[in-house]
């Protein structure tokens, strides 16, 4: 491998000529030929021998232009292991006699591949040039790396993109450098493949297609009615679908079945978004290209997608519709070159608004198998139709279209963004594609890959920053549409809230500091980007007697951080005690909007409160195991619902007696968690694997009198909030507070007795005074010890 650069190499000389012959120069040469030709004619007429000089010039220009067209502009590599033999000509021709690393970097940036990598990955030209200047990037090192990279990536030449990779790779801390841009080196190699793919598409488009010519359709029939109610599939776009291995296989099977002697029908079965329509378009493109090896029966056939809504609106009556459809089928069959496509085919098999059940008409046609038909249908819809009509399922040749994997989705997105960039006048960074894949798989449920990723990319265009769509734009798109928080906290007020979360919670809730701290820490980890993203934000089991604040903490957290108690999803598990209640838990939202999965799909970023969890049926607890561990649950439609942006709080009164006993015996409850957990397991109240899945099991202690005193203040604050409209303020003396505390204190029942006493004493007193007219707007009501004694005494 020769890593020296030879300026006088033949290929280098040719490249320099290529670089000089820019499009403008070639245009001028052509213009020159034209003008010289006119001059020649004139000189011929006047009899001047200068005419020969003009012809000499025209010949010379012609030689140059033809040489450029047939050799220079695509100088083939020599594959001899030398720099000059392998470097792309548009870079080779720009290098000076003794290029330094900056010269090489600048030449790489002038090539489309180099510019592509630097701009798509967000590096910027200056950053890249600085990298080229480091000592490890001497010209020899760059050439060595570039030749290695070319071999590894198996590219035809050392293009600009390969050169950029070589320069970056020579930087010792390149992984750290790339991590700063949320990338790794594999992403850059993917960029090289992407750039080469774009050029291969351009090559493919520029090659003339064999479409059959001007008389292609003379042997086929006219289809005026079909044209009115159908749309011919566009065969001019080169879709990537034909390049994906999965789709190539499907299209090959379609060609085989539709040109066979058997039943000429295909049912493409797959969820929305997997690319069924794209497969049909690729199929249409392939059979229209005479260069492909297509059986003569199918070659140059036209694929027409029938519009169900146009048909139904044109023929609303049942008899009329069947007649019209029958007429269209006859027309299509007689034409002999039509492949009929029923997109969303279930619309033709069920009676509903916008659809009509034409099974009686369609089934015999499908069974006869002479009219070429493609049905594109959702998996669930196909199962439902087959259940009603089993002969239909047997008649169709089904082909499953499965959701694309990461590499396939990336390929599709890379092609789609060229259209999106034109449509929305934006530019997508590569990182946006990766983020779109990741976030769409978590948050978009009504489509499968690659459709869901492409949809998210399209939504992200609205959040472009100065026309640039980055990962942040994609995150914003999800945050705004799904009302979740994905990006790390960067606004000052949010950061302040997170850092002071405990004190904010304690404004509304008294005591239970360990539990408050555990929950606040989980949120801080999540919003700082420190936590494991494949699990819920935090999973907590709160144990303790009734009325001590387990539910109140969940409500307070929802109010303080999740923007209101409306963003709390509450499930009382004493309603899930039956064997069949698991189905209610994971029901589809259309059937049961209050199911857990339906609510989480709507509000992924929320507090989930599972109250009285010990009362749930064991099957329900088993279903919840996966939620606690991996943060996902499949609903009845087999969709994966993500709980990875929720805090899950389960509450239970189990072990309350044991807690009270331990307190009475003088145990420090915070250190006795293990004893309580062991008791719960040994008494079979909870399985060990269930308890083990919680991040924290926190014991809530019975409230002390001092804490109840503070609760009185909170309750009075709540009463004053209620009376704020009427401009009445309730005040309570310290002695009265002590009396209330004594009256409401019950360590078995927590704060609820206190609440009932306050209601009886304070609220009833206020109500009586207001109704008796003893209190005017702007006045104060003072609750004294006497008031309390007189009320409690009654």
């Amino acid at each position: 491998m020769n890593q020296d650069f030879n300026y006088n190499h033949l290929r280098a000389k040719k490249s320099r000529i290529t670089v000089v012959m820019t499009p403008m120069v070639r245009k001028m040469m052509n213009l020159g030929r034209f003008l010289l030709a006119i001059l020649t004619i004139y000189l011929l007429l006047v009899g001047s021998s200068l005419m020969w000089a003009c012809l000499a010039a025209i010949s010379a220009l012609t030689i140059l232009l033809w040489w450029w067209k047939l050799e220079l502009h695509r100088l083939a590599p020599l594959n001899d292991g030398t720099v000059e033999g392998n470097l792309a000509s548009n870079i080779l021709g720009r290098l000076p006699r003794n290029p330094n690393s900056v010269d090489i970097a600048e030449a790489a940036l002038k090539a489309s591949g180099g510019m592509f990598i630097v701009s798509r990955f967000g590096f910027g030209q200056e950053v890249f040039k600085n990298l080229a200047e480091i000592p490890q990037n001497s010209p020899k090192d760059i050439w060595r790396s570039a030749l290695e990279m070319q071999r590894k990536l198996n590219t035809k030449t050392i293009s600009g993109s390969v050169l950029v990779l070589a320069i970056i790779r020579n930087f010792p801390a390149h992984e750290k450098f790339l991590a700063h841009f949320n990338l790794d080196f594999r992403d850059l190699t993917e960029g090289v493949v992407w750039h080469d793919h774009i050029f291969s598409l351009i090559d493919k488009i520029s090659q003339p297609k064999q479409t059959g010519g001007i008389a292609r359709d003379w042997s086929f029939g006219w289809t005026p009615t079909l044209n009115q109610f159908g749309r011919q599939v566009n065969t001019n776009s080169i879709r990537v679908a034909s390049e994906l291995p999965q789709y190539r296989e499907i299209i090959a099977k379609m060609i085989d079945k539709l040109s066979s002697n058997g039943q000429k029908n295909i049912a493409l079965i797959g969820a929305d978004g997997v690319g069924k329509t794209t497969v049909v378009e690729s199929f249409a493109s392939q059979i229209m290209d005479g260069r492909n090896n297509i059986p003569s029966e199918l070659r140059y056939n036209q694929v027409v997608i029938l519009d169900a809504s146009a048909l139904i609106s044109a023929a609303p009556g049942r008899g009329e519709l069947e007649q019209l459809v029958n007429y269209i089928f006859v027309e299509a069959y007689s034409a002999k070159n039509i492949v009929l496509c029923l997109d969303n085919a279930h619309l033709f098999f069920e009676d509903a608004i916008g659809s009509a059940d034409l099974s009686n008409l369609l089934l015999p046609i499908l069974e006869a198998g002479r009219l070429k038909m493609i049905l594109a249908i959702d998996q669930q819809a196909f199962l439902q139709i087959s259940a009603r009509n089993s002969s239909l399922a047997n008649t169709l040749n089904t082909l499953q279209v499965v959701p694309a994997n990461f590499e396939e989705t990336l390929s599709v997105m890379q092609d789609e963004i060229t259209i999106l960039e034109q449509k929305y006048n934006v530019f997508y960074f590569y990182q946006a594609l990766k983020t779109a894949y990741e976030l769409s798989s978590r948050y978009i449920f009504n489509l499968e890959m690659p459709g869901r990723a492409v949809k998210l990319l399209e939504m992200s265009a609205a959040f472009a920053d100065n026309g640039l769509v980055s990962s942040a734009s994609v995150e914003q798109a999800i945050e705004k549409s799904m009302n979740v928080k994905i990006s790390t906290a960067h606004q000052e007020d949010e950061k302040s809230k997170l850092l002071n979360l405990e004190s904010l919670i304690h404004r509304r809730m008294i005591g239970q500091a360990p539990a408050v701290s555990a929950v606040a820490n989980a949120l801080r980890r999540a919003r700082a980007g420190v936590r494991n993203r494949d699990r819920p934000i935090g999973t907590f089991l709160f144990l303790g007697p009734t009325g001590v604040g387990k539910t109140e903490l969940a409500r307070t957290l929802a109010d303080v951080y999740f923007e209101g108690e409306d963003n709390m999803i509450r499930l009382d598990l004493n309603e899930y005690v039956g064997l069949n209640d698991v189905e209610r838990l994971i029901a589809d939202g259309a059937d049961n909007p209050t199911s857990l999965t339906a609510q989480v799909m709507k509000k992924p970023f929320s507090v989930i409160l599972l109250d009285e969890i010990e009362k749930a049926h064991p099957n329900v607890l088993t279903a919840l195991l996966q939620v606690l561990d991996e943060g996902i649950l499949r609903d009845t439609k087999n969709r994966e619902v993500s709980f990875r942006d929720s805090i899950i709080i389960a509450t239970s009164n189990a072990g309350s007696e044991r807690i009270r006993e331990l307190i009475n015996r003088g145990y420090d409850i915070e250190k006795s968690e293990q004893i309580i957990v062991d008791d719960l397991i040994s008494s079979n109240q909870f399985r060990p694997e269930f308890l083990n899945r919680f991040d924290e099991v926190t014991i809530f202690t019975p409230l002390k009198k001092s804490e109840l005193l503070q609760i009185v203040d909170l309750i009075i604050l709540g009463v004053n909030k209620t009376l704020a409209n009427q401009k009445v303020v309730v005040k309570i003396t310290d002695e009265a507070k002590m009396l209330l505390t004594e009256a409401g204190y019950d360590p078995r029942l927590g704060a609820r007795p206190m609440r009932r006493v306050v209601q009886r004493v304070v609220e009833n007193t206020v109500a009586r005074k207001m109704l008796a007219g003893e209190v005017a707007a702007g006045s104060e009501i003072l609750i004294t010890a006497e008031t309390i004694q007189s009320t409690i005494g009654r």
């Binding site: 009899g47 010039a57 010949s59 003339p208 059959g212 010519g213």
Partner: protein
């Protein structure tokens, strides 16, 4: 460099030029749909009356046969015209292509030849003979033309 250029021009370059000529011929054959037209020369035009009559009377069947034959004749005529036009066009292109290949061989020498001709001063001469047009005898009187009495 000059040797490399000449070597390329008379080997790979010539071949590349021949390939582009063949590509354009292929494109022309496809444009005029020659293979399809040959295959379907006598097929009913646009499938008019191509369908079979089921359970028809003899009269209906005969009428169908006549209509279909007529459709075939129309189709055959149209197809023949297009094929002939296509063959003529392709033959012309092929001839031009052949001339181009010959011209390719001569082209590198032409600039030198033209420069020599420039200095030699030689110019081609073209004898443009305008043929005499015979006109009927006209009676000229005082430079005026007059139509003879008998021909008024």
């Amino acid at each position: 460099m000059l040797m490399a250029f000449i070597s390329w021009w008379y080997s790979k370059g010539w071949l590349a030029r021949a390939v582009t000529i063949l590509d354009s011929l292929e494109k022309s054959i496809d444009y005029f749909s020659l293979p399809l037209l040959i295959k379907t020369w006598f097929a009913p035009f646009r499938q008019i009356d191509a369908g079979r009559l089921v359970n028809g009377s003899i009269e209906q069947r005969f009428r169908k046969l006549v209509d279909r034959t007529f459709s075939r004749i129309i189709g055959a005529i149209l197809r023949t015209v297009v094929m002939l036009a296509g063959v003529f066009y392709i033959a012309l292109r092929a001839l031009l292509g052949l001339l181009m290949l010959v011209f390719w061989a001569a082209l590198p020498i032409l600039p030198i030849v033209f420069v020599i001709l420039t200095f030699s001063g030689w110019m081609p001469h073209f004898n443009l003979k305008i043929p005499e047009i015979k006109i009927p005898e006209i009676i000229k009187m005082n430079n005026k033309t007059q139509i003879p009495r008998g021909q008024r």
